[in-house]
Subunit: 160 residues, 2 copies
DNA sequence: TGCACAGGTAAGAATGATTCTCCGCAAAGA
DNA sequence: TCTTTGCGGAGAATCATTCTTACCTGTGCA
């Protein structure tokens, strides 16, 4: 099944160190915390949100450091910026593999969605079709909608 | 053919008036100019770019008015905000029909792309699949890539 | 151990984008 | 016409992000 990722599978310190090492970045306390927060926070956090969580564990970390660090993650390919239409805060995604986004119109949350079948479908479509004067590199589908909280249906209500 | 829209088909003043009227907005000189600029400018302009063009025709229009007006267009459903990852300026799209975007990684230009076949493909995919706990309303595909300027091939070069 | 060096960090100033406030004016309705 | 309402302009205010500066830490090396 390839339903929305549930981030959360809390990463071990070793995994974090490894990721930073692979990206060629020194593993400072601040960076480990920032990377961890990025992986753990739901809905693609803003710098502000990352900062909030990080200061909970090491209160001295400055917002400027969070910004600079997130940027360095982006250039190192560890992280990417997420395209969003509403709100003028930048959002970050720790997952750099190709994937798609479910954007909740109500809460502004952005949920990762990943399905190789869908990738294949889209890739195939453009491979067939070709675009005049444009060479596609990557695809990202934004699905706007609303969360449904498993409302009780008429039937399930009857069962009670 | 459903290749990228080429905006530009310059709208008549009557069409503009009509659009504003349909949206329930007063048709002031400023609004007409702003709407026209939005329709005419390529690549999904920022408020700043709209302002630049508008002041070319009516120099007194203030940037604040452009912002306010664009927002009112958005709430009226005349216009929408475009999701973009890079740069921290907000961009607007006068086209509210469902469509997709080609994002040029080099120039940051955002080109509209429209193809009912693609819509159908995506819609069909999710209709089959269904998303747990999420009700999709609309889909927008972001194709990141680079413009190809019809480079001369080995052959076409030989012809010269 | 002692010494430069590279890179990181915190703090706050600076910048840039967007929103807000306030006031005069023009348009729509009575 | 008189009134009410909304619109637009100017500039202040706010918010997000970047830059500057100075300090600090860990590292390599004599």
């Amino acid at each position: 099944m390839h339903t929305p990722h549930s981030h959360h599978p809390v990463p071990t310190p070793e995994q974090l160190q490894q990721q930073l090492a692979d990206a060629g970045l020194r593993a400072t306390r601040q960076r480990l915390l920032i990377l961890e927060s990025l992986l753990v926070l739901p809905g693609h956090p803003t710098a502000e949100q990352v900062h909030q969580r990080v200061t909970g564990q090491l209160s001295s970390v400055s917002l400027g450091t969070v910004y600079k660090t997130l940027d360095s993650f982006v250039v190192a390919g560890l992280t990417r910026r997420v395209a969003s239409a509403e709100g003028s805060r930048r959002r970050y995604d720790a997952d750099c593999t190709e994937h798609h986004h479910l954007v909740c119109a109500d809460t502004q949350e952005i949920i990762d969605y990943c399905d190789p079948k869908l990738d294949e479908l889209i890739r195939g479509f453009f491979a067939d079709k070709g675009l005049p004067g444009f060479q596609p590199h990557s695809f990202s589908l934004h699905v706007t909608g609303s969360r449904v909280v498993d409302l009780p249906t008429a039937e399930s209500a009857q069962q009670a």
